[in-house]
């Protein structure tokens, strides 16, 4: 019964959202806005489920003695941040913002910065000319890299034009072919969900 209700709600809202997309009428815009607002409310409630899950998992792992230091840091942050926000608020010059700006933001930047090293190591592996396609890839990458650096204009003034051609034609055509495939895959998956053929999102196929 629950499953049938879910499928009916999914079909109804799928059709409504499909129709409203083609309509400039204020009623259609209002429907769209309302659905988006309800989605935000639902997400806020599901976030609670997530927080409870994080809390439960970490407490359980601490009891078992698995990765205690990491889990204690996670739990401290999970409890401390909302408490600080409730007591002093989240404006500038509050403990919450101090922790955010001086601990969380630098940590996020640190993880992001790792990307530079990972790109270098991945490129090193990827650009080995082991076959003809790999050699073409290496040559194309070299031209693009050089065209973006000061050295490129010194080597040849035409280098930028060649790089631009590579990006606009061979690269773009391959990208568009992939995008068409992804678009069609997304379209058919969405239709299967709306029509109730696809039921994995309900937890199973039956």
């Amino acid at each position: 019964m629950n499953r049938k209700v879910s499928l009916a709600v999914c079909f109804l809202f799928g059709v409504i959202m499909f129709i409203q997309y083609f309509s400039p009428h204020p009623v259609a815009s209002a429907v769209n806005q309302s659905v988006l607002e309800y989605w935000q409310i639902i997400f806020a409630f599901t976030l609670l489920v997530g927080v409870v899950s994080v809390f439960k998992n970490n407490v359980m792992q601490i009891r078992r003695g698995h990765d205690r230091p990491y889990r204690l840091v996670t739990l401290t942050g999970l409890v401390a941040m909302p408490v600080l926000a409730l007591i002093w608020g989240i404006r500038t010059d509050t403990p919450f913002m101090w922790i955010f700006e001086n601990i969380q933001a630098p940590m996020q930047s640190t993880v992001f910065a790792l990307l530079a090293f990972f790109v270098a190591s991945a490129s090193f592996r990827g650009f080995r000319a082991r076959s003809v396609p790999a050699a073409i890839l290496l040559l194309s990458a070299l031209i693009i890299l050089l065209s973006r650096s000061a050295l490129g204009s010194l080597i040849s003034p035409q280098l930028y034009e060649v790089a631009d051609w590579i990006r606009s034609y061979p690269s773009m055509s391959a990208r568009r072919a992939i995008l068409i495939g992804i678009g069609l895959g997304s379209l058919t998956t969405s239709l299967r969900v709306i029509l109730g053929i696809e039921r994995t999102w309900l937890g199973g196929k039956k």
Partner: protein
């Protein structure tokens, strides 16, 4: 333009229909008809065969390797998507097949996610897969957990899991953004078999470099149909192929038309330009 003329004539002053979106509506209706046709017409499904995809043939090998090494399988749907995204739905289909195999081999499956809704759905999908495999007692709901909604917090947490648990196989299937290479390179550094697939063309290039197998474009959407033999999914793959042929025909006609127009010297706007 013909489209605009038709739309404005039919819907003049009604205010209920945006004439500029008529071509999109026609394309959507054609797509719906083709999907319904391929799904409900049994004979059209029976004639259909999916070509071999290396990344999908390696799924069995990846899970078997994890079982032999007594290490877990890690599955991440990435940070970029939510449950509304078709990529996430496709990833859930794939997850159900991977979970069924890990249940059969009694191999732990770890699934960290950034979205509590995805966590809830994934728990149900995996629970049902374990039940379908005949081993509901092997299901551990704690292994499917919400980590954080922060992008690099998620990347750091999953990196930590990869480093500590040393999974033998890693599945990176879903919507990925900048965290894709961070995760894939960490997986590569511990020597895990990695099977990846995403809808982002930018992240695809990272996966191709860092992972053993990458599902490109629509392969991710066809994956679960290929592995499970599910007729409805295979039928939609067939629908995609029909639509792809129609798009290719449209493009060829437009190219011929514009070439002739350029040769003749016509400056008139092309019929395809809507």
């Amino acid at each position: 333009m013909l489209w605009y003329y038709l739309a404005t004539t039919v819907t003049h002053n009604s205010g209920w229909f945006n004439a500029d979106k008529l071509p999109t509506l026609i394309a959507a209706i054609v797509s719906i008809i083709i999907v319904l046709y391929t799904t409900y017409r049994r004979s059209s499904r029976e004639r259909f065969k999916v070509r071999e995809i290396a990344g999908l043939k390696a799924v069995e090998e990846a899970i078997g390797r994890a079982t032999e090494m007594a290490r877990p399988v890690l599955y991440t749907p990435g940070w970029g998507g939510d449950i509304q995204r078709p990529t996430t739905i496709a990833s859930m289909n794939f997850l159900s097949i991977v979970a069924e195999k890990t249940a059969l081999y009694d191999c732990p499956l770890v699934y960290p996610t950034h979205d509590p809704v995805i966590m809830a759905v994934a728990q149900e999908v995996v629970r049902e897969s374990y039940a379908r495999a005949g081993y509901p007692d092997r299901f551990r709901s704690n292994n499917i957990s919400y980590v954080t909604s922060s992008q690099f917090g998620y990347a750091a947490a999953v990196d930590g899991m990869i480093s500590r648990l040393c999974p033998a196989s890693i599945f990176l299937l879903g919507t990925f953004e900048a965290e894709s290479l961070i995760l894939a390179e960490t997986g590569n550094s511990i020597g895990a078999i990695q099977i990846a697939g995403t809808d982002s063309t930018i992240q695809l290039s990272f996966f191709i470099v860092a992972c053993d197998y990458t599902l490109i474009g629509e392969e991710l959407f066809a994956a679960s149909g290929y592995l499970s033999g599910d007729r409805s999914i295979l039928a939609s793959v067939h629908a995609q192929d029909i639509l792809k042929v129609l798009i290719a025909l449209f493009l060829i006609m437009a190219v011929i038309w514009s070439t002739i127009a350029a040769v003749v010297g016509s400056t008139a706007e092309g019929w395809w330009n809507f």
